[in-house]
Symmetry: C2
Subunit: 384 residues, 2 copies
């Protein structure tokens, strides 16, 4: 096991009808800006519950944060925060709203050009307090300090992380997900699946407990995913899927293990360039990347085939890895997510050329062994 | 899944040669009291490493905290803290030292009779900052806010918990466990096993992920436990066992699930009365309690038999539960821990009478369903 350090100060408040607890968690002297996306939290009553809980507090609203939150929009919020003197941000919505709010929190206190936080990894010394009512089981943003932001003008999608933007608290009420469009439920399951695999399917440094936990999330997704699609108001299945999503990216499963994240990095380019959903890009790239990088990931994929898919442990490792790849594609297909670029009407060669060009320009090299060069990325996208 | 709230602000610093990091974590203006137990941390060089890291800091020492830390000893430390104006406690040693230090931290700021913290569950409003270098994989105390304290004069062993006594940081260097006496390594494995089972082997509220994680710890203990006993300097096995111990009682495996803790409560009485090691009492009580309470725990024990011990899923549940009980006893025996009171020279009827008397006097009723009355506890101890 590798050495590691870990601290997550976020308080999780999980369960049915917990939104009202906001009022016990935010100090009464705070000037609050509620941030959200489109209209879904109006339609499903979540915004109403939030406002009822904030009765007597000093708050305003900033709506319109997009999926794949845009730098341009977020900078409008930064101006509002600075002019209005807001000192607490409450994100209400999915991971995009929360990611955007993390950026607003950091950029509002940043001395310099805020884009540097994303493009140059500039250090964040201070941020406004944030918290959230998270309504989409997918990004795990509710229990980590990372965020992914897009910029319209340059078609870029970049990430940052800082312990200054851990949510003070996150409220997870699985009932808020009853009315999710099926597409978003599916994307969330694929996102969680891929988060887990980015932390598991690397090379082995002798972390059997972390492996068990990672595969435990996968087993739970395989069992509970079809249940929520069949019965969107199955509370326990919704709760289990949400807790999988949170634990898929709070790093509990990968402390001391080796991480990858190249599927995400390649996927981000496809979102930035073609506007594909994040979950769609992951379902496209993950199996192809495993296929191209099979040699490096063989031990973990073989273990997955045995433990999750019940494959015979005496089969050759290469065959076991193939089984893990095939069964993963099959699961994505089963829950309604296509895994080939052409099925989304995209020419894989054109996409491969574009991704290679961008990675070459930025000098991007990916993978847990730092061996996914722009040429290998080309191959992965071409094969997708 | 049940509703839950969770927050653990402790920073974990895990890995080889990490003790020197103390100096980056404690503010330089603190007046530090190092607390420890017997001489083992002198012999194995841990105290030396701690003092080297604290070069330039203002610190003193308080040694002599016993296994099953005694109220009488801890109150001496409380006096020293108050008189000396110490404002940071650094526990160096096992769970007993850390538990004792949590009590010192709370009692030093407590307005009233400190014993009330244990006997009456008095609320703790304030505590001195604490941190630790934990050297025994067992109690999980390094990542929770609970402690168990004994009192000589009344032969009592009682617990308290308060979020004010979360360690600021915990340093876990698996190399510090290379020189542990085998008995302590074994007790730690039994303790971790039992912690997990107190949170798992209850009734099912549909928490498949938590179940997977709990059983993941058990599988890892079964694999890695014999390795550390065979080769005490196997770093990875030591690291895996330590991380199992920490995760066995940081509550990650039981959020939203139902907990028991009756094996511990009965075991505490046996320690208080007969001076048995904590790990010994657990190995004695757990199988007997499962046997007596089999009906209530059948679903989870059957699942354990299938997932951990590879039992045939088509066997009757009652038989599967018996398999889980037998295999658990067998594992304890295999790593050198006896599971019957008479094997420790104790008459089980006499012990049963004593436990029943104590529980009756205090009105103690245990178990996840509140159905382990003093009479049932009598049966459990008699059967042990």
């Amino acid at each position: 096991m590798n050495n590691f350090e870990f601290k997550c100060p976020t308080k999780i408040i999980f369960g049915a009808d917990t939104i009202s607890k906001i009022k016990e968690e935010i100090p009464h002297d705070k000037k609050i800006l509620i941030t959200y996306g489109g209209g879904s939290i109006r339609k499903n009553g979540v915004l109403k519950q939030v406002k009822e809980a904030l009765n007597g507090f000093d708050y305003s609203e900033f709506g319109g944060i997009e999926p794949n939150p845009k730098y341009e929009t977020l900078m409008e919020a930064v101006n509002m925060v600075k002019e209005g003197g807001y000192n607490f941000l409450l994100a209400v919505g999915g991971g995009s709203v929360l990611d955007g709010t993390k950026f607003i929190a950091a950029a509002s206190k940043f001395d310099g050009e805020p884009w540097d936080i994303l493009s140059k990894g500039a250090t964040i010394h201070e941020a406004i307090d944030i918290a959230d009512v998270i309504t989409l089981p997918a990004t795990g943003s509710e229990m980590n300090c990372a965020a992914v932001i897009s910029r319209n003008s340059t078609k870029e999608k970049l990430a940052f992380a800082s312990e200054k933007v851990y949510p003070k608290f996150s409220i997870i009420d699985p009932k808020t997900t009853y009315t999710l469009p099926e597409k978003q439920t599916v994307n969330g399951i694929v996102d969680t699946f891929t988060h887990v695999m980015e932390q598991y399917a690397t090379y082995d440094v002798n972390t059997p407990l972390q492996d068990q936990w990672a595969l435990g999330i996968i087993k739970t997704l395989l069992e509970e995913g079809p249940k929520v699609l069949k019965d969107p108001q199955n509370y326990d299945a919704r709760a289990n899927i949400f807790w999988c999503a949170t634990c898929g990216l709070n790093y509990w499963i990968s402390l001391g293990a080796v991480q990858d994240w190249s599927t995400h990095m390649i996927g981000h380019e496809l979102t930035a360039f073609y506007g594909l959903d994040h979950g769609e890009t992951l379902a496209i790239i993950l199996p192809s990347l495993w296929h191209v990088m099979k040699k490096d990931k063989m031990d973990k994929l073989a273990k997955m085939a045995i433990e999750v898919f019940g494959a015979n442990e005496f089969l050759p490792k290469s065959l076991l890895a193939d089984i893990a790849i095939k069964k993963t594609e099959k699961f994505f297909n089963k829950i309604g997510r296509k895994t080939k670029l052409k099925e989304y009407g995209i020419n894989s060669k054109e996409a491969a050329v574009e991704v290679k060009k961008r990675f070459s320009q930025r000098g991007t090299v990916l993978g847990e062994k730092g061996n996914i060069t722009p040429d290998i990325a080309y191959e992965i996208v071409l094969n997708a």
